[in-house]
Structures are given as structure tokens and as C-alpha cells.
């Protein structure tokens, strides 16, 4: 086999592969998807060669599919990510993650005087620009770029 074509990570029989994740967002994406607590087999790849990104990250989760809302939660930190649904070694669905209009409970407001940093409550942000990504706190109205947003 041509070594360049060799898969860096073993193929899945069934499950979800999230490809083209920016390297710096791989571990945070895994946390947002709740993979720290799963009992399914999870493979995380980092600094893999990518024609699109140069270097990329990848997350494979065996025998598990996610609903779109859950997967779209990583769109803020991994806007380039592509989701592949695998059934019986075949890619049956392939689509990019999509940034929702409202982001609930993922981002921490970076305004220290925001109520959401002082009360036991979920944060809420509205996406006010997509290119580049800018989000605004629903409570205190402070805006932050997607790149500077702190995730919980």
C-alpha cells in the first residue's frame, strides 16, 4: 500500500467521524460533545496532515451518532469541521457543521460584570455576524469574535 494513502487512524465500522477540526479545537470539541463521559470507543487525532488546513484534528466515535444540534455546538470553535456518518464502513452522510443563530451554554461571557458570570444560569449568545463570526451576549450585550470566545 502506498504509505501516503495509508489511513492514520483505523476505519470505523459504524459511528461518527468529525474531520477537518482545527488542531487547537480538538480537545474542546470533544468536551463540548460530552465525549469525556462516554463509554464508546473514541479516537482523537491531532496534527494530522491535511490538504485543506495544513494540519488538522479528527474525532472518531464508534457506534454512536449525534443529532445535528449537538454537532453544531462545535461550529463556533471548529467552523471547518465536517461530519461523516459511517454505517458498515460506508460514509452514508457527509456535511459541514453549521453555526446556529443562538448559542446556549457553551460560551462564557468575557465581561466580568455580566450577570451570567455571577448567577447559576446558562449563558446565551446571539450570532450577529458569520463572516467573520461575532457573537453577542443576550444578557449584557457585550460582543466577542468567535476566535476570542471562551468556552465553558
Amino acid at each position: 500500500m502506498n504509505p501516503e494513502k495509508q489511513l492514520a487512524v483505523a476505519a470505523l465500522q459504524n459511528g461518527t467521524v468529525i474531520d477537518h477540526i482545527p488542531c487547537e479545537a480538538v480537545y474542546r470539541s470533544a468536551r463540548i460533545l460530552g465525549l469525556e463521559d462516554t463509554t464508546h470507543a473514541v479516537t482523537i487525532g491531532c496534527n494530522l496532515t491535511s490538504r485543506k488546513l495544513g494540519r488538522k484534528g479528527i474525532i472518531k466515535v464508534a457506534d454512536m451518532e449525534f443529532d445535528a444540534d449537538t454537532l453544531n455546538r462545535i461550529a463556533l470553535i471548529a467552523p471547518t469541521a465536517v461530519v461523516n456518518i459511517i454505517r458498515d464502513y460506508e460514509v452514508v452522510e457527509k456535511r459541514p457543521v453549521e453555526l446556529p443563530d443562538r448559542i446556549m451554554g457553551i460560551v462564557r461571557c468575557n465581561n466580568p460584570k455580566c450577570i451570567s458570570n455571577h448567577q447559576p444560569m446558562a449563558t446565551k449568545f446571539d450570532v450577529i455576524s458569520r463572516e467573520p463570526v461575532v457573537i453577542r451576549c443576550h444578557y449584557c450585550n457585550h460582543s466577542v469574535s468567535g476566535a476570542d470566545a471562551k468556552t465553558i
Binding site: K113, Q119, H138, S143
Partner: protein, 302 residues
Amino acid sequence: MNPNSFVSIADITEDEIRHLLERARYFEEHPNSKILDGKVVATLFFEPSTRTRLSFETAVNRLCGRIIGFSDPGSSSTSKGETLKDTIKMVSNYADLIVMRHYLEGAARYATEVTDIPIINAGDGANQHPSQTMLDLYSIYKTQGRLDNLVITLVGDLKYGRTVHSMLQAMKYFKPRFNFVASHELAMPQEYKDFCRAEGIPFTETTDFSADVINQSDIIYMTRVQRERFTDPVEYERVKDLYTLHNAMLAGSKPNLRILHPLPRVNEIDVDVDDNPKAYYFEQARNGLFARQAIITRALGL
């Protein structure tokens, strides 16, 4: 969530703004009535603000409503560690309306999400203070006879001054032209300049509080450079006296010019301006009563 809550000036439409101004005019002509008879209004001041609280409570009292609440968070259950949600839910059992002031930004918005009774935001940190904006608009409307096509000069602390930020948002319907006069340290934040550009509102920006700027203005809105907004006291001392208005500076100003200030004033308007008929800041505070009567009755669906 109650749809009649009033958290931010951005929540209401142009029609609602005009309707509130007409209502304020009605209350100026009829400040005393029994329209709130049988209603209980809670004033929850998690941060002391005597001026705003007295204005709201006078508005309720003159309309024959009853008031419960606290003016000092130290005497409330907050000091025992109760969450804001629990306090709002508890008070909602007793009152028809909550008027709240909080030191944290977004507190009033959050409060609307945990109760079905209307919430009026009486100031949430540096964020919003919509009843102040309504009284400012009413003052402009009353003194100029219109809101459209006015030249409005904002002076002083344009960085932290929430009243000037709300003013920009509220005036977007009325084709204003703005002059922003401030030191570099207290200049209008980029997001509000972007807002003006997006809304097609022309503005100039200068550090020089010059005769040229003053003489073209219909409204000069002075703001206090607030000591409590500074982390560095040396910086405060350096900028606090840079933008003081003296009576002599008004010599060439337009006859319809009026000077507004949200008060309290420290030294940004010299006392020699007080006797000039163009000084309007004391009447402006009085307009707060009528604007708040309008806001309270709207919130209660009356």
C-alpha cells in the same frame, strides 16, 4: 416572560417610543390620578440610587399605587446569598410590577426570564437605563417641538456613559446628526460608531469642545466623568476637568439650543450656566417623573 417588560430601549419600536412620549405629555398635564389604585409595585434596588428610586416611587405614588421593596441590598435576602432568580420569584408573588436596579449587567434581562410579571430596568451596571433614555427623549421633544433632523452633541464620558449609548440607539429613527466630543481615553466605543454607520447616522468625532461644535448644536448633552468607572485614580484626575461648559462658550449658540445632563453634575457644567435660559437639566430631571409614569402604565397594560 412578560411582553410589557422594558429592559432596553432597543426592545421598543419607533411607534412605541412616540406613544410613550404622548403618554408622558398626558401625565405632565395630569400628574395625579388613581390609575394605579389597587396595584402593588416592587422597587428592588440591589444598588442604591436615591434619585432614580425617588422618581419611580413618586410616579407610583402620584398615580395611587402602593410600593414595596428595598433600597439597600444589605438589608435584603441577597446579603444572605439568595440568588437573583429566587428573589424575583418570591417578589413576583406579591407585586404586579417589579422596578429593579442592579450593579450587574444583564440582570434585568435575566429577571424577565424567571417571572411572568413585567420588569422595568432601572439601570443594570454600565448596560442599560431605558427610563433615563425616555426622559431624555421627552426633554428633547418638549424643547425642540420635534425629534427629527436635530444636531446633538454628546460631551464627556462617551466610553462608559450608558445614557449616551442608549441615546444613539433611540435616536436612530429620527435622522439625527451627532457630534462626539471626548478625550481619547473616553471616546465613543467602536461598536457604537459601527452602529451609526450601519444605521446611516452621520457623526463627527473630536477632542476639541470648540465654538464651532457648540454653535451648530440643537442639543448639547453633557455627561459626568464618573470616578467609579476608573480603576486608576490618576487617570481620573487627568481627564475630569477637560470638558467643562462655561456660560461664555454659549455666546454664539443657536436660540433653540438646550443643555441637557443626566445629573448629578460635578464640575462639567459651571454654575454660571444655570441662569442661562438654555440650561435645561433641572427641568429634564422633572420630566423623568412623567416619562416613568408613562413607562409604568404601559408595563401594566393600562
